[in-house]
């Protein structure tokens, strides 16, 4: 059974509104773009805060699964996540940067968990009774590949958002020189 945690009803409504406006703005509706700017200003902090809550709670659950019952590992992972979060988000992050950072940190945690799981299973000293069946390993391997791809894509998104939202010049000048 796979039950993903969800945003509260009110936040879901706001999120739906933002998605609708973004769809229309992307299709070229200038009025929707104006409304989107206003709606983002009003509801983005709340949606980001709720999603970040889900991320933090989820990270704790995943950490406790990954650490088994080892409290030292659990504590070490929590500290590591805090350090990563501070390093990736940087000083004075925007709410969007905070959200993207949470996503990156969560994906890193899953990448590490699956890597550890695989390396334990591939260890030749593992007793046969603890060895997982091939079907299980195949599933974890596919999952590991997909999570690694998503992790790299999330890093790329954050870099792109920072570049596009920074004050880098947005004009492009092309110079043509004709040589005879």
């Amino acid at each position: 059974m796979n039950t993903a945690p969800e945003l509260p009803e009110k936040t879901r409504e706001r999120f739906k509104e933002l998605r609708g406006l973004a769809d229309r703005a992307e299709a070229g509706d200038a009025e929707a773009r104006r409304k989107l700017r206003k709606a983002l200003h009003e509801s983005s902090p709340e949606v980001v805060a709720r999603a970040a809550d889900i991320a933090r709670t989820g990270q704790r659950v995943l950490i406790s699964t990954a650490a088994g019952k080892d409290l030292v590992v659990e504590e070490a992972l929590l500290v590591r996540l805090d350090l990563m979060r501070a390093e990736i988000a940087g000083e004075n992050p925007t709410p969007l940067e905070e959200l993207l950072t949470e996503r990156i940190v969560s994906l890193w945690l899953l990448v590490e968990t699956l890597d550890t799981l695989m390396s334990v299973q591939l260890c030749p000293d593992l007793p046969p009774e603890k060895r997982a069946p091939i079907s299980y390993l195949r599933h974890v391997f596919r999952w590991q590949e997909s999570v690694s791809r998503r992790y790299l894509a999330a890093l790329k998104t954050l870099a792109q958002v920072r570049k596009l939202q920074s004050n880098t010049p947005d004009r492009q000048y092309n110079t043509q020189i004709n040589l005879r």
Binding site: L7, A25, S44, V48, G58, T65, L99, Q165
Partner: protein
């Protein structure tokens, strides 16, 4: 073997019986292991389930912020709209 049932003759008498019992034991152990590993897999998947809503919100909000900031995505690649010089 390769999805096919293969019969292998191992002999008769006490040796044959011992090998048959050993095979039966291995089969039973395998049957017992299946639910345990399925449970393990489900536990891990459930622990990582929060990534789905997180990805959805991050994707939509990134798109919304970039659009509101005047960016567009002409060929799947986000770019700033060019400023028209007056």
């Amino acid at each position: 073997m390769n999805g096919r049932v293969v019969r292998e003759y191992v002999g008769t008498g006490a040796i044959g019986k011992t090998i048959a019992l050993d095979d039966e034991l291995k089969r039973l152990q395998k049957e017992e292991e299946v639910p345990r590993w399925r449970e393990e897999r489900e536990c891990l998947e459930q622990s990582a389930a929060f990534l789905q809503p997180l990805a959805k919100v991050a994707e939509v909000l990134t798109r919304a912020h970039l659009l509101a900031d005047g960016c567009h995505r002409p060929k799947g690649q986000w770019r700033r709209r060019r400023e028209h010089r007056a």
